[in-house]
């Protein structure tokens, strides 16, 4: 029998069998509810006299609309998006290629693995001021910042995913006289795809952190500038609108990535015990 699986709270309380039939509203209703609750809390906090620099959510929403209508937002993103997308492309392609090479070629592993581990774990954002200092206010410093913060995460996860291929699967493939290439193509990469995508998510998140940091630190352009400028002139509603926009954009990109993964690999089909 498939186990009756109530959650732990149902176990902690005396659990009648009847309770399992309780139908729950769909996930989207809950998301809506949780957005509404968060909005409400922000609104209340904003209206309470905590700080002038914390405007209520409704004012931020209005400012957001205004910035969209007047084109401020578009102008900022016209500056931020090209380096962001370039950087993302570089870390996705480059990161996977480096990760796969490090996993499959021993010399590459010996030479690059420690560096990747250091860059993944250490607070490498400390180097970003130097990057902006070196590359100036152009797109190059943004792209380099994205690479420093994102690429090691992608590469290291790809590496780990390939390392985690069950040896029995590789032995199976070799026992059927598959070529090295076939084994990589049909066994190793599909097996590693979950970890690789996990790495892409981390990398995308790192990329956003990197570009915002670069734009905040020195490059007076793009979305970072929109935040800094509006803070300087005390238009806190606009400042928060800009912050919300970049966080929302990162969520959208991550959701797209998730959709691609589901489309390509049907995540549930991968999970063999």
């Amino acid at each position: 029998m498939s186990e009756v699986t109530p959650r732990l709270n149902a176990l902690l309380a005396p659990s009648p069998g009847r309770r399992f039939s309780l139908a729950l509203p769909s996930i989207w209703l809950w998301r809506l509810a949780s957005v509404a609750v968060a909005f409400l809390i922000w609104e209340v906090l904003g209206r309470s006299p905590i700080s002038l620099a914390l405007p209520p959510a409704s004012e931020v929403a209005v400012a957001f609309g205004e910035m969209l209508a007047k084109g401020e937002m578009w102008a900022a993103y016209a500056n931020s998006l090209p380096p962001l997308l370039t950087g993302l492309a570089i870390i996705i392609v480059g990161g996977v290629v480096i990760g796969v090479s490090v996993a499959l070629a021993r010399t590459a592993e010996w030479f690059l693995l420690p560096v990747l581990i250091i860059f993944q774990t250490a607070p490498v954002s400390a180097i970003i001021p130097l990057v902006t200092y070196a590359y100036g206010i152009g797109d190059a410093s943004k792209i380099v910042a994205i690479m420093i913060l994102g690429l090691p995460l992608v590469a290291l996860n790809s590496y780990k995913g390939i390392q985690a291929t069950p040896p029995s699967l590789i032995a199976m493939s070799e026992s059927f006289l598959a070529s090295r290439f076939d084994t990589i193509r049909y066994v190793i990469l599909p097996s590693a795809s979950g970890m690789i995508f996990a790495g892409l998510r981390l990398g995308v998140s790192g990329a956003f952190i990197g570009i915002v940091l670069a734009e905040l630190l020195i490059t007076p352009t793009g979305i970072g500038d929109l935040i800094t400028y509006n803070r300087a002139i005390a238009r806190y509603d606009k400042m928060f609108a800009a912050i919300v926009s970049i966080i929302a954009l990162s969520a959208v990109v991550l959701a797209l990535l998730q959709a691609v993964e589901t489309r390509l690999f049907r995540a549930n089909a991968r999970a063999l015990p």
Partner: protein, 269 residues
């Protein structure tokens, strides 16, 4: 004695020499609104005897045991212990788990004493009682060990000692030996019989092994598959007064195993 085939709906008559301690009356469980796990289960458990719930996987025997333990509330029907309806877990019943359910961070002594700790028994007394039962199940010397340092068989001995330590009249055992290897399983079965000679317990024993059920039980209740209901009740009536390792050689034992298999094979095919 022959196979006593009884109509599923009628509660079986109690054994003549024993009074019933636990009765299930029309117990049914429906979950998710439409999946019927158990339908109208009736059974009577005589005091001081070992009753097995035997059936293929998916027949709801573990679910039935959890209903008896008070962990799951049935949708219909009732379980009564000495005439009192079960409303949840109670001190009259103790459960031995298939996966042992030992706290990995606690020593054998603390694991065995857990039930007493829940009841607020002071440390010194708790340890004393725990030591007694640890010795009784043959784990003496392992009090300070952690579960991960023990073999599967030893872990279940600890689980058994924990259930014994709270001195419940009824011992519920959920496929307790299914997670250990065959040799150890036989040893544990023999030791359980020896133990029950000392401890006067009523045991309800869930198993999917025909051999195990016949070897251990005074009464075997055979459940059919989904929805689970009682199909047959068998009283092995094997003489267990002698050496425990003789039982498997008695003609009665072998005959019964064959008979039960003959009855059950239709559900497998």
């Amino acid at each position: 004695m022959t196979l006593a085939r009884e109509a599923p709906a009628a509660p079986p008559a109690p054994m003549p020499d024993e009074k019933p301690i636990l009765v299930a009356d029309e117990v049914g469980l429906v979950y998710g609104g439409n999946v019927t796990a158990l339908a109208g289960v009736n059974l009577t458990v005589p005091q001081g005897r070992l009753t097995s719930l035997l059936g293929p996987s998916g027949c709801g025997k573990t679910t039935l045991l959890k209903i008896i333990a008070g962990l799951i509330e049935p949708t219909t029907g009732d379980v009564t212990v000495r005439g009192e309806p079960v409303r949840g877990p109670g001190p009259d019943r103790a459960l031995v788990f298939q996966d042992f359910a030992l706290l990995p961070w606690a020593t054998v002594l603390d694991n065995v004493g857990y039930g007493l700790r829940v009841r607020g028994v002071p440390r010194q007394e708790r340890d004393q009682v725990a030591r007694h039962y640890i010795e009784e199940v043959g784990l003496a010397g392992f009090e300070a060990r952690y579960p991960h340092e023990l073999s599967g068989g030893m872990r279940q001995r600890a689980g058994l000692a924990r259930a014994l330590a709270v001195r419940s009249d009824i011992l519920l055992m959920d496929e307790p030996f299914s997670a250990v290897d065959e040799q150890m399983r036989r040893k544990l079965q023999e030791d359980l019989l020896e133990l029950l000679r000392v401890e006067q317990k009523t045991v309800i024993f869930v198993t999917h092994s025909i051999e195990e059920a016949v070897y251990l039980s005074d009464q075997v209740i055979i459940l059919t598959q989904r929805p689970g209901r009682v199909s047959t009740i068998v009283r092995p009536d094997i003489d267990r007064s002698g050496n425990v390792d003789e039982i498997r050689r008695t003609p009665r034992y072998m005959e019964l195993v064959d008979e039960i298999w003959a009855g059950l094979r239709q559900y497998v095919e």
